[in-house]
Structures are given as C-alpha cells and as structure tokens.
Symmetry: C2
Subunit: 331 residues, 2 copies
DNA sequence: CTGAAAGCGCTAACAC
DNA sequence: GTGTTAGCGCTTTCAG
C-alpha cells in the first residue's frame, strides 16, 4: 500500500490538516513544522492521491481533449501543442476520439463531465449547437478548434480562413492563372457558407475572373477523394491551370492523379494545399500551401484553458493566429 | 449539483446499498425493487461518480497509454487501434507523451500508478529495465510495444523484425540487386543487436553477398536524416542499387535525395521503407514496404490489457503479428 | 498557527 | 434480499 497523508502526519507528529496545508500551501504553517513535514514527505516518497483529492475538490488536473481522428497528422500536431503546454502547467490529457460522430461527441462530453475534468478542448470538423450547449451546461471551461467555431459564442482558436483562401487564390492569379479549381472536403453543409470558398470567390471577383462552377469540387478529406475528382476532371478534358485544395491530403491526391496521367506539376498545372502538415514538404514536388500554425493552435488552446481554469482574464474569445503562404515546388 | 446515489436511494425508497447493487449487479436484488431503482435512475439521469468509485475500489476504467511521439503517423494508427478496442470494453484512454525521454517515462509510470489506472500500454523506441521494473512493481497489468520488447519477460506485441528484414533484403537480391544499402534509425545501441540488421545480414550471407559496411548507415528517424545520408552517399559516388530503410520517413528522405539529384527511382535505384504508414502509398513513386499491422497491434494490445485486467488467460506473452511485403512503384 | 471532525460519493463487509 | 455502517484519502470548516 502506498503511503497516505495519515502516515505522513503520524511520522511527522502533526495532524493531517497540517500536512494538507503544507502540500497545498493553503494556509500558513510555521516554518519548522513545514520543514519537518517536507522531510517526511521526501523520505517516504509520499504523493497525494489525485483521486481522493478530486473527490473532495470536484476538480482534477485533467484536460479532456475531444478530437475527430487521432491518426490524422493535423490532430497529431495539435495534440503535441496541447500536451506540451498542458504539461507545463501540470495538466494531463484525457483523450477522446469521436470519428466525427455527433453522438460520440455528446457521449464524451458527458463522460468528461463525470470525470470532473478541469477543462475541455474540443476539436471538430464542424461544431454543432447541441454539443456546445451540453458543454456550456456543464460549466466546465472549454476551448474550441473548428472551422466554424466563430459562429458560436465560445472561446476558440483558428486562422482567418477567408483571408488565407483569398491569399492563395490571389497568388495563383498573380502567376497568370485564370482557370483555378477549388477542391473542398465537404461536410454536408452548404459550400456557400464556407469561409474558404468565400475567400476564393472574392479573389476571383476582385480580379474580374468569372467563377466557373465546374471547377468548384467537393470530396471528402482523403487523398483518394482528391485523386478521383481530378481524374474525373482529366477524363472530361476540363483540366485547370491551378488546383487549390482545402487540405494537404486532398492536394496530394490531386497531385498523384495528375502525375499518374503524365501531366507535369507545376509546368502544366499548379497545385496548392492547406494546413502544411508534414507531408506537404515530404512529397515531390513539394506542396505550396497555406500553413496553419497547428502546433501553436494546440499550445494556445491549452494556455487559454489553463487561464480559464484559474479564472484569469482571457483577452479575446476568438483568437486568430497568423497564417502563411509557403511557396514550394508544386506551383 | 449532479444527482448522487443518495438521491436515487431516497427517491426509490431504498437504501444506497441496494442502489449500488443494482448498478453493479454485485448481489441479487428482487426484480420489482430493481425495476423501481432502474426507473428512478432513468428519470433522474443518474450516472455513478467514477471518481468516488475509483477511490474505494482503487481501480478505474482508464488505460494509460505511454507513447514516444503523438504526432507520428505510427503512433496515431496505434492509438486508433487501442482506442477502438478500449472503447468496446468501456475503457478510456489517458495519454502520456514522452518524447522518448526515459525520465519522462518514469514520471508518467508513477503518475499512472497514482491515478490507479487499470492497465498500461507502453510504446517505446527502446525499452529499458528501470521502466519495466517500475511498472512491474506497481502490479498494474501492462503490455509493451517496442522493437526490443522480447528481450524482457513482459507481455508484448510486435512483428518478426528479423524475418521481415530478411524478406525485404531477399526480395531485392531476387531482383538482381547486390549493392543494397541498409539505412537505420539509430537509438544509441549497438547496431549488431538490431533484429532488422540481423535479417539484412543473414539474407546477404545466404546469397553469398559480402556485407559492405560502407552501405550500413545510421541516422535518426526523420526524413531529413534519410535525405542527408543519401546525399552524402551520392557525393561520395557510392550509390547503391537498392536502399532498404528501417522506417517510411527515412525512406522518403532517401527517395527525395535521389530525386533531387535526378537519379531515377526505381530505374537507377530501388527503395523500400518499413511500417507502411499512410505516407508510403501517398508519395510518388509509391513506396515498396514491409507493412506492420499497426492498427491491429494497437487493437491486440488493448485486447490483451483488458484480458489481463479481468484476470483472464492470455495464451502467449510475446505475440507476433504477421508482416507483409507490399510491392509498389519504388522498386 | 494547529487539530478535530465532517463529508465528498461510493463499495463492501456485516448484520438481520 | 435488504439496510447499516465503516471507511477509501483527502480538503476544509470550525474551534481553540
């Protein structure tokens, strides 16, 4: 059996309250007694039982992190950032994988609630009201990372997707491209509502280029989907001058479809991705991308959660981190 | 305040022990009373407090997972497998990221111990005795995933690395290659001890090919490292006919170094990777690889842990899953 | 500044 | 079959 606060108290010849006070620094303790207690703690290797502690305080030092897919590069980087900062403040990570299913998201929120987690970081492809309401109801501090987080009154981290998308489209236009395809991972919602689409559209408008609906394409987030879509374009002979995909994987799929059909990238067609996950710089030709500061987004999310837990002020609700356009070989 | 067992007991007109009995099925309860209790539970939406429960049983339904790097594709897939099976048995995942540092590994083992996790799945580049001893001492059921797990008396999951490595080397030899480089991510240990190296060496021996030490190369696990090493080989004019890298990322780095120096793959040089992470099929030329069933390894690890927790028999300590050689464009 | 005691929500003897 | 009760290890009033 591990040593408990009782043992320490007995060995130090004080009451357990005193021991509790020194380990929590919750109330003044005369320095000689404090030293005595500290010595016993060191000798015995005593570690407070977090479960018992959590039972009485109704708090834990656990941050619940809900993600749609652990095995994605994006989420991996995000988790690194969260973990790193979380650990700095002595918080641990409780991981929930939802596969993007709303039902599972709800289930996990309830679970985290019952675990009395100190905070929740919620990562989702697309936020929905029921989930947000459930979290709000729980009163647990929360931060969101999602494309549409700014549609809700919640703390969130993101980049300016519309601007980023505008930048990339504009970059292509500047390079003399007119026929620019927009490849997007659909999430059952209206494409018109998508920030990225808005940025793309606006850039075309500002340059007086007509939007060609046959070049606005929806897939899912996999590279296979990007492959199929571009292959279809090729079959139809509707080959664009540039392809702007809304994720790196989608871009890789598009790239492979072109290469496999002996279409040169970037000579015949330019390609750009979105996110700058590790793969973007690993493939050849390497991908021109909009870089999202993914690790930083995780780190900032963790920082915010910690602040919220400590009741500190958080300047803004919707934090926008800077994005960058990274030019590589694919354009 | 959430509803507690007390509230349920009062509303159902029974004692809290009875309520406890029905939620745990721990002792017989007459069916009418059981129904009554169940109804109140449903009405109130009562959920037992896992913290309180854990305090008295000294157990939780949490599996602690210690990994070297969450953001790696390998670990991501592994986690998917663990999570999926874990969830099936109602276990949750507590995530610990060590960056491969022994000190942090030890710290986390202690943490998991104090959290009273039900089991530990330990993923590491290279297992060391102190860590294993600490886990054993804790009496917590544990499963290991690591190249050198079989050097210890622990439950572990893996593939037959020596055979896999033999297979790949043999494959190259069969294709008429004689000058086969072996690229390896070193982990400060003696390369001679590495199973993969042994397989490589044996395949050469069996075919009467002399081992050329200038083609046995060590890097770290990044693609940059693979890039540098192969670049160096090119500078020296010591270009092999085939390169067998001990990870996909390493192989990608090697591949890029060749492509960037206008050396054709697979015409001039063949390349093979190891693991079959998602990137292997995403790049062009796609990578010939030894496929480790990563997801399955995670799933099996979770299954074993659950069995150990339930004191069920586990047939073997060291479980070897089948590997496959997948031939793609790079060879 | 320190100790005694109540209680967090639950399980598990122990009685009846 | 069911209820009473003693903790699990800790924090936190409340006295002193």
């Amino acid at each position: 059996m591990a040593v408990t606060i009782k043992d320490v108290a007995k060995m130090a010849g004080v009451s357990i309250s005193t021991v509790s006070r020194v380990i929590n620094n919750s109330k003044p303790v005369s320095s000689d007694i404090r030293d005595q207690v500290l010595r016993v703690i060191k000798e015995t290797g005593y570690v407070p039982n977090p479960v018992a502690r959590s039972l009485v305080t109704k708090k834990s030092n656990i941050i619940g992190v809900i993600v749609p897919d652990i095995s994605s590069l994006f989420v991996g980087d995000l988790l690194s950032g969260i973990e790193e900062i979380g650990r700095m403040y002595e918080y641990d990570i409780f991981l929930c994988n939802t596969y993007g299913e709303s039902e599972r998201e709800l289930k996990y929120i309830n679970l985290l609630k019952s675990k009395a987690v100190a905070g929740i970081i919620f990562v989702s492809e697309k936020l929905e009201k029921p989930q947000i309401d459930l979290v709000k109801e729980s009163q647990i501090p929360s931060v969101y990372i999602s494309k549409n987080a700014k549609d809700f009154d919640v703390y969130s981290i993101g980049i300016d997707h519309k601007q980023a998308s505008y930048d990339m489209t504009h970059y292509f236009i500047n390079k003399g491209k007119k026929k620019i395809a927009f490849l997007r991972a659909s999430v059952e919602d209206n494409i018109e509502d998508s920030e990225r689409y808005k940025g793309y559209k606006k850039a075309l408008e500002d340059s007086g280029i007509d939007l060609d609906k046959s070049l606005v394409l929806q897939g899912d987030s996999t590279n296979e989907s990007g492959y199929r879509i571009v292959e279809m374009l090729i079959e139809k002979g509707n080959i664009p001058e540039a392809i702007f995909a809304s994720s790196d994987e989608l871009a890789v799929g598009a790239l492979n479809a072109l290469l496999d059909n002996r279409i040169n990238v970037p000579k015949d067609v330019s390609i750009a991705g979105y996110d700058d996950t590790r793969i973007a710089s690993m493939i050849r030709p390497s991908l021109t991308v909009i870089k999202q500061p993914i690790y930083d987004m995780g780190a900032v999310a963790a920082r915010i959660i910690v602040k919220l837990i400590d009741n500190q002020d958080v300047e803004e609700k919707y934090i926008i981190l800077p994005h960058t356009l990274i030019e590589r070989q694919s354009s």
